[in-house]
């Protein structure tokens, strides 16, 4: 479409820019994958489950959000880990806070993906605006569970 509209030279300018961006991303993506793999293997999961279980209260949400920030890796690592937390007794609110935190303020994601596109200024600004969101989502999820939303039946 761009080729037809803007001609051949423009097409190759964009293609070259994209390929350069791609090449710059590669070492970061590889680093992110390796960090994810090692942390998943090294993390004392039982301990985490105890910290973010049903009785963990508001502190549990904070801890879960913090772990979401800390734990690197893509969806391939994060969702299995979140699923494992559920099985080991973490409550849904904490898992929601964990995933939202990883999605919005996880640093590997911001460094690897967001920074090349937006630049540091915008990214930092966006992350500051996102800081309270995992807690809000976690509280909303706990309210829904308390109001009668049943999810334990799905947890194997």
């Amino acid at each position: 479409m761009v080729y037809v509209r803007d001609g051949r030279d423009h097409f190759f300018t964009i293609l070259f820019g994209d390929v350069t961006l791609f090449a710059e991303m590669l070492p970061k993506v590889l680093a992110g994958c390796l960090i994810g793999a090692f942390v998943t293997l090294l993390l004392p999961r039982e301990l985490v489950a105890r910290w973010v279980g049903h009785e963990s209260g508001f502190a549990g949400l904070l801890i879960a959000a913090f772990f979401g920030f800390l734990l690197p890796g893509g969806p391939i690592t994060i969702y299995p880990v979140a699923g494992a937390f559920l099985v080991m007794g973490a409550d849904a609110g904490a898992v929601v806070a964990f995933i939202v935190s990883w999605t919005l303020i996880g640093y590997t994601r911001a460094l690897v993906w967001e920074l090349p596109f937006f630049g540091p200024h915008f990214v930092i600004w966006r992350i500051i605006a996102a800081l309270p969101l995992p807690i809000i989502a976690g509280v909303l999820a706990r309210i829904a569970v308390r109001a009668g939303f049943e999810y334990r039946g799905d947890v194997k």
Partner: protein, 164 residues
């Protein structure tokens, strides 16, 4: 900047690999193998995402963005951006590159934040492809529902914080 981030990331990799190696050779090999495998699996997706999204961004109707998503579009712009984010398909790069392109074409920063937040939290294809296969379905829907208001909260906070 890019170099500093690369160094920082690889320092973290080195530290973690060292800890793993101290705990045993098997653990170290497992970590390295899983990490590299994930990287190889991601490669084609990233390639398509990066190269494709450059063209998507270029093909975006620029004259359409400023009036609907510009700084003057206010809350309606945030709603449109949130809907757009939820409906944007594609890998990790597409949403960011569309957001960056929209920002360059005159979209307001809070609107772009609403867009990328909605896209990151509940892009429909991602729920289907990643989350549902790996997590209990009801927890996924609970998480998506609890995330619904977040792009609006993020945009409101961004407006309060002022321009970046």
């Amino acid at each position: 900047m890019t170099l500093a981030i690369n160094i920082l990331l690889w320092l973290v990799v080195g530290t973690l690999a060292f800890i793993a190696a101290m705990r045993g050779r098997v653990l170290f090999n497992d970590g390295a193998r899983i990490g590299v495998m994930e990287f190889v699996l991601l490669l084609p997706r990233i390639a398509i995402g990066v190269v494709g999204s450059g063209f998507v961004a270029e093909a975006l109707p620029n004259e359409w963005i400023a009036p609907w998503l510009g700084p003057e579009s206010g809350f309606l712009g945030v709603i449109i951006a949130t809907l757009g984010g939820a409906l944007t398909p594609g890998g990790p790069v597409v949403g960011f590159s569309i957001g960056a392109a929209a920002l360059k074409s005159g979209a307001g920063a809070p609107q772009v934040i609403a867009y990328s937040t909605a896209w990151a939290l509940y892009a429909i294809h991602r729920l289907m492809i990643w989350e549902v296969p790996m997590m209990p379905a009801r927890v996924v829907w609970l998480r998506a529902a609890a995330s619904l208001p977040l792009p609006f909260v993020a945009a409101a906070l961004a407006m309060l914080l002022g321009r970046p």
